[in-house]
């Protein structure tokens, strides 16, 4: 099964730090698939979306684009849920 991918822009004022980072990691942990994230705007390495240290180390600031990719049975749902979280500005 090919990995599912989506690119979204993080608009939250804290980027993917603080509360948004916690929410993102918590959401990612709800899925079985292995999920990776890269910071497209900073040409970073890809990290495990279920790791708070990984996500923080991406240094995603407000306005950066991130690519979310998931590999597994619930991959599509995972990418969808995480994109919705980011696009919905983390419920704020």
């Amino acid at each position: 099964m090919p990995a599912i991918k989506a690119t979204v822009v993080v608009k939250h004022q804290h980027g993917l730090h603080a509360r948004p980072a916690d929410l993102f990691v918590r959401k990612a942990n709800e899925f079985q698939s292995s999920i990776e994230v890269g910071n497209v705007s900073r040409a970073s390495r890809r990290v495990n979306a279920k790791s708070i240290l990984g996500i923080l180390s991406l240094g995603v600031h407000s306005g950066d684009s991130i690519e979310i990719s998931a590999d597994g049975l619930d991959g599509a749902a995972a990418v969808d849920a995480l994109s919705t979280l980011v696009n919905g500005n983390f419920g704020e």
Binding site: K11, H14, H17, A18, V47, N48, K50, S51, I52, L53, G54, L56, S57, G59, G88, N89, G91, E92
Partner: protein, 580 residues
């Protein structure tokens, strides 16, 4: 007499012996284990033991220091289980054949370096957490039973390069006189702990402090941000006098806190508390500090404690607890003030380019009438046979206020139809935070029973300077004559229509501001409970006729610096009360 300067992060003065706080020497050797698989098992066992240790610290912090402290250990437990960290350590052990200690150290250091490259206050705190977790695990791997024994012989000033959350909670608080660290900032962990314990703390001090021998007598000045070593007798005496007079003034003020806030010439004002909780301890603290009621009940706590929008009944329970505890003393309930820098997780707010100038306060409530009505009804019911008053935040125009009053009337009609008991004739006021509202306050005064001036927001809007921007902190000063001019205008407008005027911003509890506000005719001072005894003490030593002329003159100055200097010069007695 060397004096080392740093940043003052918690006020107070401590004089006493130095205690050089030791950290475990976590030196480990690097070797290739015979069986990498067994080495990984050893690591996993250490991780499980560390988890139990953190859990115990979490529980200890919860009971000894409260939930803010405990939350730090919750965050550390998450790091302990981080999948990426674990995968990297596993790789280092199984493939690179490193021993557990060096694999852990190398991996966590790589993360720390990556995170340190990011300029962000929150991330810096996570770096501290990560190193703290690493050290906990290293200590377990190396076979240390607990933390290093830091045995205090006497109450001391703790000196250390850094202090981790675990260091802080491991110390016996009765043995601490103050903190002095090389690392840290005003928002650091040590700063928060020191302020909650009421102890002085200074951060960012030169490493020379580490060379001061343990037991040497030093002075820690949490006002100026200095550590003075080898002080001569005269200096020690001077600081002792200052420390004593500070604590004496506080003690005396507290013992008189229950007396009315009446000036020497018989003019009485109300001194009330800002409150943001329904917990018994918070309410008791208002009463213990001599609050004559609540001048600002921030209701956001009710919303923040919930996972979903709280309904009318749940809100009623919380508000009722508070109104019952205050009996016939006034409680001014401010309706929800989110937006700006305050958000709710379950309530979707549109992304705004400029949230402080966006849909916040009453603007938001008027756009969500169901949410607004649930709160108003809960408040009206909680006000039954109590002295509850309603207040709307962020009012700009009279039309908004009239719209809110119409909704309030609807709520009353709906409650009457149910029927349930509620406060029929509740007094209604507004916060004055927007310059437009201050300038047109005479019109607004016709529609309300009182004004309460929110000086923090009024200052940032008047001076066009974001109060959360550190670069501009000098500019946002409520004692700016431009802000004082608006305050004066609002008080006069209220009185002209026979209404009351109060201040519920930080300015109300600021000693230098009290004579000015009193002189401008302010009726009500609302502040954080610990500031009340001193505020009352100041009011009780002033004469209204003296401060009236003084207050009018401050409006003519050009800067807040001039205002402060003038007040302190005109009222030398105030200087003694502050004794700085």
């Amino acid at each position: 007499m060397p004096s080392l300067s740093g940043i003052a992060i918690s006020p107070g003065i401590a004089i006493g012996p130095v205690f050089q706080f030791g950290h475990l020497s976590l030196e480990y050797s690097k070797y290739e284990p015979d069986d990498p698989g067994k080495e990984w098992t050893r690591f996993e066992a250490a991780r499980a033991a560390s988890g139990r240790r953190l859990q115990a610290q979490y529980e200890h912090a919860q009971s000894a220091f409260g939930s803010d402290e405990a939350a730090i250990f919750g965050a550390q437990l998450t790091i302990l289980d981080d999948p990426e960290l674990l995968a990297d350590v596993r790789e280092q052990i199984l493939r690179k054949h490193k021993n557990a200690e060096s694999a852990l150290y190398d991996v966590s250091e790589t993360y720390c370096e990556r995170l340190e490259a990011i300029e962000d206050e929150y991330i810096r705190a996570r770096v501290v957490d990560l190193r703290d977790v690493r050290d906990t695990m290293l200590a377990v791997l190396l076979g240390f039973e607990g933390a290093v024994e830091n045995r205090f012989a006497a109450p001391s000033i703790v000196v250390s390069r850094f202090l981790t959350p675990s260091d802080c909670i491991s110390m016996d608080r009765r043995m601490i006189l103050g903190f002095c660290t090389m690392d840290g900032s005003t928002t650091s962990h040590v700063a928060i702990l020191a302020r909650s314990l009421g102890l002085p703390a200074v951060a960012g001090v030169d490493e020379a402090a580490l060379a001061i021998p343990g037991g040497a007598k030093v002075i820690l000045d949490g006002y100026a941000g200095t550590l003075i070593d080898e002080a001569d007798g005269e200096t020690v005496k001077k600081y002792e006098v200052r420390r004593e007079s500070k604590s004496r003034v506080r003690e005396q003020a507290k013992s008189e806190a229950h007396l009315p806030a009446m000036t020497l010439d018989g003019h009485q004002v109300l001194v009330v508390a800002n409150l943001g909780s329904a917990e018994g301890a918070a309410v008791q603290s208002c009463i213990d500090h001599g609050a004559e009621g609540v001048g600002l009940l921030r209701t956001e706590f009710v919303y923040l404690e919930c996972q979903t929008m709280p309904d009318e009944d749940l809100q009623y329970e919380k508000y009722r607890t508070i109104t019952q505890l205050f009996g016939q003393r006034p409680v001014i309930l401010r309706t929800i003030d989110i937006g700006g820098d305050k958000n709710l997780p379950y309530f979707e707010l549109p992304h705004e380019l400029n949230p402080f100038l966006g849909v916040r306060g009453l603007r938001l409530s008027l756009r969500h009438p169901e949410m607004f009505k649930a709160q108003l009804k809960a408040a009206l019911r909680a006000g039954y046979e109590a002295n509850l008053q309603l207040m709307f935040p962020m009012v700009t125009k009279a039309s908004e206020l009239r719209q809110a009053l119409r909704i309030l009337a609807e709520c009353k009609a709906e409650l009457a139809a149910r029927p349930v008991p509620f406060a029929q004739n509740v007094e209604v006021g507004i916060m004055i935070e927007v310059p437009a509202a201050a300038l047109l306050s005479e019109h607004l005064a016709e529609e309300v029973d009182f004004f309460s001036i929110g000086t923090n927001d009024l200052s940032q809007y008047t001076l066009a300077a974001d109060r959360t921007n550190n670069e501009l902190s000098q500019l946002v000063d409520a004692l700016d004559p431009a802000v004082l001019g608006l305050i004066s205008q609002v008080i006069d407008a209220a009185h002209k229509k026979g209404k009351r005027a109060g201040v519920c911003g930080e300015l109300a509890g600021e000693p230098v501001a009290i004579p000015i506000l009193l002189g401008l005719g302010l009726d009500e001072f609302s502040m954080n409970p610990p500031a009340i005894p001193l505020a009352k003490r100041i009011i009780r030593r002033l004469r209204l006729t003296d401060v009236q002329g003084l207050a009018r003159r401050t409006l003519k100055f050009e800067s807040p610096v001039d205002v402060r200097a003038f007040v302190l010069e005109s009222l030398p007695g105030l200087q003694d009360i502050l004794s700085d």
